[in-house]
């Protein structure tokens, strides 16, 4: 059946050619770049304290965001799946709207919320607590990342919880399980795959997020910003390439895990 494989080859050829020319070759070149400055450049992220610090910052922040997103997204997603009320489709569609926002907008939103003239500052001043601002620090980044991760988690959990077999819960209840036991013995195991897949994607997105951090111009340096600074402010291409490699490997690994551990739940992510 070589005619079949020839046909399939012809179908894939344009995409393969385009992809090789405009991604594979340039990136292979980029990955060779740090070698020009010596092999140690590849490990700069581990050997230079500043980069290491930035990497650890990013990892910590991403993990915290992932955790918070899963907990909040899971609770809200389940609630939305189970609660019936008028306007639910509208609310769901509004809640998932931010999926299509660029990171810069989300940075701006955080400024609107937590900047010096932000909503939170107004509220805390009115409460007599002084103007509280959080936009430009770690908190700002955390909320920014949370803002763009939540829609995905809410959508995923709502879908997963809606698709869940209600009989499992009914079975547990018929055996006398309390609310907590149902959550522990039915919901959590049933949603484990979704959680893994969603968590990996949220983590990967947070690791690579640039626009939000860029807009907030936070003092709290994350790896994409470090990378960007190396490139644009200091024209240090080899180092920028080396940092890209590190970041790429981490995000690819977590996405790979999401796809292979959780299968179809992560498709189209």
């Amino acid at each position: 059946m070589s005619s079949t494989s020839r046909l399939l080859g012809a179908c894939a050829a344009p995409a393969a050619a385009f992809f090789s020319a405009f991604w594979l070759l340039p990136v292979v070149r980029l990955f060779a770049l740090p070698a020009e400055k010596g092999w140690a450049t590849y490990f700069a992220v581990l050997t230079d304290g500043r980069y290491l610090h930035s990497l650890l910052n990013t990892l910590g922040l991403s993990l915290a965001v992932t955790l918070a997103t899963l907990v909040l997204g899971g609770l809200v997603g389940i609630t939305l799946a189970r609660q019936r009320f008028a306007g639910k489709p509208l609310l769901l569609s509004l809640l998932t709207l931010p999926l299509s926002f660029p990171g810069v907008i989300i940075g701006f939103f955080i400024i609107l919320l937590g900047g010096r003239q932000g909503l939170v500052a107004d509220v805390t001043e009115w409460l007599g607590l002084g103007r509280t601002t959080f936009a430009y620090g770690l908190t700002g980044l955390f909320f920014g990342y949370l803002y763009f991760s939540l829609p995905r988690a809410i959508a995923t959990y709502t879908a997963a919880a809606t698709a869940m077999d209600p009989q499992l819960e009914e079975a547990a209840r018929s055996l006398g399980a309390s609310r907590w036991r149902v959550a522990r013995d039915v919901w959590i195991p049933e949603l484990a795959q979704t959680t893994l897949a969603c968590g990996a994607i949220v983590f990967a997105t947070s690791m690579g997020a640039f626009g939000t951090a860029f807009t907030l111009a936070s003092k709290f340096e994350v790896l994409p910003i470090t990378l960007y600074n190396e490139f644009t402010n200091y024209a240090n291409f080899a180092l920028a390439a080396s940092l890209s490699i590190t970041l790429g490997i981490i995000t690819w690994l977590s996405l790979f895990l999401a796809r292979h551990a959780a299968g179809p739940a992560a498709a189209g992510a």
Binding site: P14, L80, F210, L227, G268
Partner: protein
């Protein structure tokens, strides 16, 4: 005494809180784009002045972004749909490897992809200074989404049977691809296009590096305005972004819904 269990009020409160967190900034920014002075708030009166100013300074970016996104959808359809078919049907190891490679641009930071493109093709001046350079970057980034979405549809069991049915009735490859497969994966194609469109319109990481002062897109303009303009202008610009993307989003969603209903799958 309703037996189907009630949601605890705590969860409802949390849901409301999260909804406020998600929706308040959108409302705030819409409001801020329409008032005369943000710090005085609504009391300063409503105005379209800021939107006018945005269109004045950044009007070009809106058209550029829309055009870019449409071209990106077209390109990823032309390249991606046949490729998705090939990957879905092929059982060779090369196909699996290519599929994995194809998803890498999603994982590798956009900055790195952009850096690589600049280093590789930056000296082609005409190319570098045209929107085509950005388009190429967007295509590389969005192609995996299209391939993955449509590929999943091609892989569906029913579709294999549909194709075999068409073959048993004597349809050639072209006839069954156009007449049977394409209509059957249409919902996935619409979903993929929607995804590619929104990704391209909102793309910032790559574009920020790839753009030149002459080739600015909407998110680049947004970043600019946030960094250096009044908060009202930034908000008005955000409002313009919403006005641009919402109709397209909802339109395509409606279309997908319609097709789904029409096919009754």
């Amino acid at each position: 005494m309703a037996h189907p269990r009630q949601i605890p009020p705590l969860l409802l409160a949390l849901t409301a809180l999260v909804s406020v967190f998600m929706l308040a900034p959108i409302a705030l920014s819409v409001l801020a784009g329409l008032v005369n002075n943000y710090s005085t708030g609504l009391a300063s009166g409503l105005t379209l002045r800021w939107i006018g100013e945005v269109l004045d300074v950044y009007g070009g970016t809106v058209a550029a972004s829309l055009l870019l996104a449409l071209l990106c959808v077209a390109g990823s359809l032309l390249l991606g749909v046949p490729c998705a078919y090939a990957l879905a049907r092929s059982r060779s190891r090369w196909a699996r490897l290519f599929e994995e490679l194809l998803t890498l641009p999603v994982a590798v930071p956009g900055l790195a992809t952009a850096l690589a493109l600049i280093l590789a093709y930056g000296q082609l001046r005409e190319f570098r200074q045209s929107f085509a350079f950005i388009l190429v970057g967007h295509l590389v980034f969005t192609l995996p989404f299209m391939v993955r979405t449509v590929g999943a549809a091609f892989r569906r069991h029913e579709l294999l049977a549909l194709e075999e049915a068409a073959r048993s009735l004597g349809a050639s490859f072209g006839q069954r691809f156009i007449g049977v497969l394409m209509p059957a994966v249409l919902p996935a194609i619409v979903a993929g296009s929607l995804m590619v469109f929104t990704l391209s319109v909102g793309e910032f990481n790559l574009t920020w590096m790839l753009h030149t002062p002459l080739t600015r897109t909407l998110p680049v303009g947004l970043a600019d305005s946030y960094a250096s303009m009044r908060i009202e202008i930034g908000s008005a610009y955000t409002l313009v972004f919403l006005l641009v993307i919402l109709p397209v989003l909802w339109g395509l969603q409606w279309l997908a819904h319609l097709i789904e209903k029409h096919h009754g799958t």
